[in-house]
Symmetry: none
Subunit: 181 residues, 4 copies
DNA sequence: CATGAATGAGCTTTCATTCAT
DNA sequence: AATGAATGAAAGCTCATTCAT
């Protein structure tokens, strides 16, 4: 086997195909062909087709929880902008598409997306608390700002690709910072 | 033929099923059963299965374009909040889910969702322009605010249902208004 | 369709094949080929393979219950011998094999076989009661005689074909008559 | 390797599974799992799946041929009753089920069952000959009695479990003795 | 001997679509 | 327009068997 073992090649193929055509529209036979393995081998490693998707989500997406936030007191705009440099999500672009695309398909995908969402909000809130020490009193407003920022980031990750619209997270960061200033 | 004619009942059934299980996972036979029509009749009205989805989007979603915005000069928060009372989208809850869920399935769905997105941004921008006559000079900032608000509304419509998180559009409206104030 | 409609031809084919090779060892594809119908049509009429077997048992075996017994008072041997002329079972030889062969496969087959057994015993008991009016007092002995006769008849129907042994029901009838005489 | 060596554990597992679900419906993978051996090892000991069944029958059923019969002259009922204490078959309950259940599956099973049947009849005949020295002249009647008793015993072993009916061999023994008396 | 990944034919079942009526 | 039987390609999945290690 030239590139990786069979199981890995199956997951590679599935990742590409699920991202492109969707889980339901991707036959296992096509996964097998792309992975250059016999069809039966897929079911040796993954007893049911859905287990391929579950394995992908389990093994190839990681919501980074609890990492420290790179916050600069007095610079909420810059702090948020740095947050927007990357979602707290270790996953390939294909896996990111799968995460949003198949959130309805299986509970484990939905759960992962929900975790990402929650972590995003938590980070944004925490970053703002650090960047704006004086604003801690207004927790509700910070919460709204954090959720708004999270919404924008997920919107950018997901819908923008579908609709062709763009949104600049840095500008949103500045907007929100201004609102809290 | 209790409610509506056959074609209508087919679309009713498909709407419910596509929203619940997704387009790919819904067999035409199940649509026929729920609609209480013979299987063949579906293909009389809709030569291919995808035509059912296209017809649903065409006939049961309407992006209201160009309607006037209920803006109050000097009250950007209230103006945005009123915008958030309802998306410029005439569609049942089921059709809304279909719009987001099947945006990858067929071009016409994606186009409709993109149209909704564009209209949302346009309205938000226009509303802010009216509510903040003095801010017209800073078009870029208005644009960002509008896009942010649109992102929040679509996020609420789509992801919140999946992840269980909530966001209060009125609070976001106030936040944005404050940022622009 | 030359001989019978498709559903009938499917059942005909299944009857022949289940009797010959057994239910588990008979692929639906072979049924379809013998019946000269496309494979998919089998599942149009019988959603699952087991439904073919159930339909066969339901529609092509009939345990004749409660029919009068041709009893001659004073001639228990002849009366039992007449009983042995035919089991109270309307079914082709193939269906008879299926009934015994697949009794473990599905509840409905087992139930039918149990009904046959029960009816056989009931008839034998009733026949003996009529043929031996004076013996009614010894109900237990009649019961044993009836069960013995039933066992012999089922043994003849089932095991004899497997083992190559033969048993003459008329001689058993006479033996039992003698025992009760 | 808690109980026995691998080969024994494979046979143990197969015995249990074949008795419960039937030969055809039992995958070798399930046998391997229950036996706690790797899948490939089964085919090391038994090149084909059917060889597992053949080995079971060969090694775990024994038709006891030619053993002396515990006959008491003048007491045919007791003699038969003692015969009914146990079939001339050394085999676990599971193997007994397999013997009847899979008689159609493979020649060796059918042969063993036929042998059991023959031995049963031979013993019953011999027992009756010894118990009724005066009846030796009427060989035909003895033969019928023996076959009847064999039929009852096999019926009890096989069908009774399926149909829920019971039959008391002792009472049958007495009935037959009475018939010959 | 022992192992479990690998194989591929074949299984039951699904399903969009057609078509005679 | 209305019907449901008919079609067959393709789906997910099973499984006895092989084989390199």
């Amino acid at each position: 086997m030239s590139i990786g073992d069979a199981r890995t090649r199956i997951l590679d193929a599935a990742e590409e195909l699920f991202a492109g055509s969707g889980y339901e529209a991707t036959p296992t036979a096509v996964i097998a062909r792309l992975a250059q393995v016999p069809k039966g081998l897929i079911f040796h490693y993954f007893p049911r087709k859905i287990d391929v998707l579950v394995a992908l989500v389990d093994e190839r997406t990681l919501v980074e929880e609890g990492r420290e936030v790179d916050a600069v007191p007095g610079d909420p705009a810059g702090t948020l902008a740095r947050l927007a440099r990357g979602l707290p999500l270790r996953a390939s672009p294909a896996m990111r598409r799968i995460l949003f695309r198949e959130a309805d398909t299986h509970g484990s995908v939905k759960e992962r997306l929900g975790r990402l969402n929650g972590e995003l909000i938590r980070r944004a809130r925490f970053a703002l608390e650090l960047a704006l020490p004086g604003a801690r009193g207004d927790a509700a407003r910070l919460e709204v700002a954090a959720a708004t920022f999270a919404a924008v980031l997920l919107y950018q990750e997901n819908l923008c690709q579908l609709t062709g619209h763009q949104i600049d997270p840095d500008a949103v960061a500045e907007l929100i910072a201004h609102a809290l200033g």
